[in-house]
Amino acid sequence: MSTRRPRETEQPGDRTLEVGEATALLPALRMPEERATVLRVDSVTCWFGDHCVLDRVSLEVREGEVVGIIGPGGVGKTVLVKLCTGLLEPDSGRIDVLGNELGRTGQKDRQRLRERIGLVFQNYALFDFMTVGQNVAFPMLQRGGYTAEDVATRVQERLTEVGLPKVQHLMPNELSGGMKKRVGLARANINDPELIFFDDPTAGLDPVTSSKIFNLIRLTQSHRNSTCVVISHDIDRMRPACDRYVLLYKSRVYFEGTEADAMASEDAVVHEFFRKNEGIGA
C-alpha cells in the first residue's frame, strides 16, 4: 500500500512519512500491544490495620496511553497511586514503573526514577511557604541545570497553559480550590515527566474548567507523549481524554477496558459507572 500522495507544492522536508517511519517516531501511532509497558501492577495487596484496601490488584499501562481509574469514594484509588509512586509500600505484590521494580530500588535509584514521574495530589499539596511561581519552579530548580530565565519562561508558559497567567506572586492560600488544583497540575508537568498520575484533577471544579483540565491532559499526552493515569469520578468529562478505563470496586479490579467494552458488558455495576450524565462516588 502506497502512502505517498503526489502533492503540488511539496517542500523539502515536507514529504509525507511512510507508515513505518511515522510509527517509529510516534509510539502513540503503534498498536497498543507493541508499545512498552510503562506501569505494571502485579497482584498488589494493601492493608490498613485490619481493613484490606486493595486485594490482589493488577493492571498494566502502556507508553502513551491515557488510562482512567474510576470507582466509588474510599475504594483505594489514592492508595493505588501512592503505591505506584513509592509513597506507600504494598503488603504483597510487585509494582514496576518505567522498567524499575519499586520494591528493589535503593534510595538513589528511586529518587532518579521519581524525577521521571509527575504526581498531581488530590488535595493539591502545594508548598504553603512558597509563592505559586516558586511552587511551579521548584521541581525545575531542584533538578538544576537551567538558567533563571529558562525557569521563569517555562513557569509562565505552564501557568498560562492551565489558565492562570497572573497568579505567580500569590501565596497558595490566596487561591481557590480549583486554582490550587491547576497550579498542582503545572507543577507536576514542569519537568515533562514520562509518566503522570492525576489524582482526581477535577474534584470541586466547575464543569467548564473540568473539561479544560481533561483537554489539557489529552494535550499533554499528545504533545509531550507522556503516559497518563487519571483518577476521576467525572466519567462524562473524562471521556474525551481516556483511552481505557480500570474500575476498582470492593478492593478488586472489577472491570478493565474501553468504553465500548463497558457498554457491551452485561454487568449492572459496570453500567452504573459508565452511565451518562451522572457519576458516582467521590
Binding site: K82, T85, G86, L87, Q107, Q111, R112, R114, E115, I117, L119, F121, N123, Y124, A125, L126, F127, D128, F138, P139, Q142
Partner: protein, 262 residues
C-alpha cells in the same frame, strides 16, 4: 489479682510507648547524622532557618535573660545586705546564671517558641501531604527540611545563650545598682574575679545539647503526625513536654560529667 492487672497493663502500655518514642528519636538522629557526612542537605534552606530561628527567638531570650539575672540578684540581696559581702553578689549571680539557670530557662523558652513552631510547621506539612509532595518530587525531606532545622537550632541556641548570658549579667548589674544600692562596677568586678569562664563554656555545651534534643524531638513529632489538625495540636503538646524532659536529662548528664572531669 484482677485489681493488679489494670495498672500493670497501663504501665506496660506506657513503657511500650516510651520505647517507641525513643526508637523514633534515635531513628531521626541517625538519619540526620547520615545526611551530615558527607553533606547532603539543602544549603539555602539552612541559611533561611538560621535567620528565621534567630529572628524569632532573640527577643524572648533577651527578656528571659534580663529577668533571670535580676531575680538572682534580688534573691541574694537580703543575705548580701546583712553581711555586706557585696563582692559575692556578682560571683553568685554569675555562677548560677552562666552554668545552670541561663541555659535551662533559655532552652525551655526556645523549645516553647521555636520547637513548638517547628512541630506545628512539619506536622501541617505532613497532614496536607506536602511531605509526600517533596518525596514525589525526588526531594528527601530529611535533607531538605530536617537537617537545616537541626543545624539552625543547635548553632542558634548556643549563640542565643551567649547573648542571654550577657543580658543576664546586665540585668543583674542594673538590679544591684537600682534596688540594692550596690555599684554596678562592684557587681561586674565580682563576676570577673569569680573566674567563671569554665561555667560559661559548660553553659554553652548544655545549650548545644538542648538545641540538638529540641530539634530532634520537634522534628520527630512533626513528621509522625496523623489525624489532621487535632493531630498537629497533640503533637505540639507532646513535643514541648518531651523537649523539657530532654533538657533536664541533658542538664543532669552534662553537669555530672563537668563536675566529675573538670
Amino acid at each position: 489479682m484482677s485489681g493488679l492487672a489494670l495498672p500493670l497493663r497501663a504501665l506496660g502500655g506506657s513503657l511500650i510507648e516510651f520505647a517507641h518514642t525513643l526508637g523514633g528519636l534515635a531513628l531521626v538522629l541517625g538519619r540526620i547524622l547520615r545526611a551530615l557526612v558527607p553533606p547532603r542537605f539543602d544549603r539555602d534552606q539552612t541559611w533561611l532557618n538560621f535567620f528565621k530561628v534567630g529572628v524569632k527567638s532573640y527577643p524572648i531570650v533577651v527578656m528571659t535573660a534580663l529577668f533571670t539575672g535580676a531575680i538572682m540578684v534580688i534573691q541574694s540581696g537580703q543575705y548580701v545586705k546583712q553581711t555586706g559581702a557585696t563582692g559575692l553578689l556578682g560571683w553568685g549571680a554569675g555562677y548560677a546564671v552562666l552554668a545552670e539557670i541561663g541555659p535551662v530557662l533559655i532552652g525551655l523558652m526556645f523549645s516553647g517558641r521555636v520547637g513548638a513552631n517547628n512541630t506545628a510547621e512539619l506536622g501541617t506539612m505532613k497532614v496536607t501531604e506536602q511531605i509526600d509532595a517533596l518525596r514525589a518530587l525526588a526531594i528527601e525531606p530529611i535533607n531538605y527540611l530536617v537537617v537545616p532545622r537541626f543545624l539552625a537550632m543547635v548553632v542558634m541556641l548556643v549563640l542565643l545563650t551567649a547573648l542571654g548570658d550577657l543580658f543576664a549579667l546586665i540585668g543583674g548589674a542594673l538590679t544591684s545598682e537600682l534596688i540594692l544600692d550596690v555599684d554596678w562596677r562592684v557587681f561586674f568586678a565580682g563576676v570577673i574575679d569569680g573566674h567563671l569562664l569554665d561555667e560559661f563554656f559548660i553553659g554553652l555545651a548544655k545549650a548545644a545539647g538542648f538545641g540538638a534534643s529540641i530539634s530532634v524531638v520537634s522534628c520527630h513529632y512533626g513528621l509522625t503526625v496523623s489525624g489532621g489538625a487535632t493531630g498537629v495540636g497533640r503533637a505540639v503538646n507532646a513535643a514541648v513536654v518531651t523537649s523539657a524532659i530532654g533538657i533536664f536529662v541533658f542538664d543532669y548528664v552534662i553537669t555530672y560529667v563537668a563536675n566529675r572531669f573538670l
